[in-house]
Subunit: 227 residues, 2 copies
Amino acid sequence: MKALVLLSGGLDSSTLLALAVEKYGADEVLALSVLYGQKHKKELDAARNIANYYKVSHKILDLTPIFSDSKCSLLEHSDEEIPHEEYASQLKKTNGAPVSTYVEFRNGLFLSSAASIALSNGCDAIYYGAHSDDAAGNAYPDCSMEFVAAMDKAIFLGSGEALHIYAPFEKLNKAGVVKEGLKLKVPYELTWSCYEGNDKPCMVCGTCRDRIRAFELNGVKDPIFDM
Amino acid sequence: MKALVLLSGGLDSSTLLALAVEKYGADEVLALSVLYGQKHKKELDAARNIANYYKVSHKILDLTPIFSDSKCSLLEHSDEEIPHEEYASQLKKTNGAPVSTYVEFRNGLFLSSAASIALSNGCDAIYYGAHSDDAAGNAYPDCSMEFVAAMDKAIFLGSGEALHIYAPFEKLNKAGVVKEGLKLKVPYELTWSCYEGNDKPCMVCGTCRDRIRAFELNGVKDPIFDM
């Protein structure tokens, strides 16, 4: 039994990798990270460092060409600014439609790529770090648990019943994930979440706000702010 | 309303393109073809010729790196030979598991890539050429109608309910697809199906056998054999 872990280099997927390594052992885990034209490419460096820390094999896949026509503000080729406000306010402006940092079917594409690579490498599990407040009120429809269940069914059927998605954090919120990670002693100082590609986290983008709150709720200071 | 058509350059997807152009008009149709390391790369030339014939925009996506670890006999880097027998006999040898020309979750990956590109280009429909005997008795689990329905659900949910898969041939077999195509005057002489990458179709691989039979059942000679 082998597992492929989708590893962005952020907080959730790094905790996920720690969990998978604990369960399978480092030799039976393959980490996969994806370049897709994101402004915050430095999450790939974080992914590399985390994979090295856990001594697992690590693949980096470049899917940038797929998003060449995307207008998403998260992408390097976009002139649009990344919003600096809570997802709830962003959703008011979009009338409930996906927010400007939604990358078109990105997570479906990542899971499908993961499925192809997992099957080629003898894995029967894809580990996926989605958690209960990940969809942020449908700001990101490809993060909802309903979506993950639908993808799991497609992957199970399309693989000849050889592969499943596991989302062990599906019942947890982000603070719950950090709680798990603190127990597992995840080296959070190596992770990267901020959507901006600067030296320091911006502290105001949606993902910075979520991360700050998750550590606060655990009564712990996020080690990334000591760097 | 715009449609993205997954176009391999084979018989089914070329008929599909003809149908989509009839319904939407050439300006509202975007064709997508994928390079994935297949031995029969010349299907891409066929796709290009068919897209030119119908005067639609055409994108070619290279997903070869995703299959670098695949052992599938269909791929250029594989030393394994493509079986020269009916799918039923192949399935006996694999005990019902996917056959050696099954490319790991290929169609799920194609549909997911199509979803990302469709959303970036303002399409609300992905046209997909799957038909009723495409799965060949689960030789290709990522061709079954159950699989297509699961992918459709995932794409609908993951796109914020903005996109659906349409598989207009789902109730037809391959002969039925050819029947439709003959009505639509599809230039079948421009298409390519054979899994081998040679000058002439091999006539004995699974897909050549299926194609020959589909034309025979329509009482028509396949124009590709006149080339």
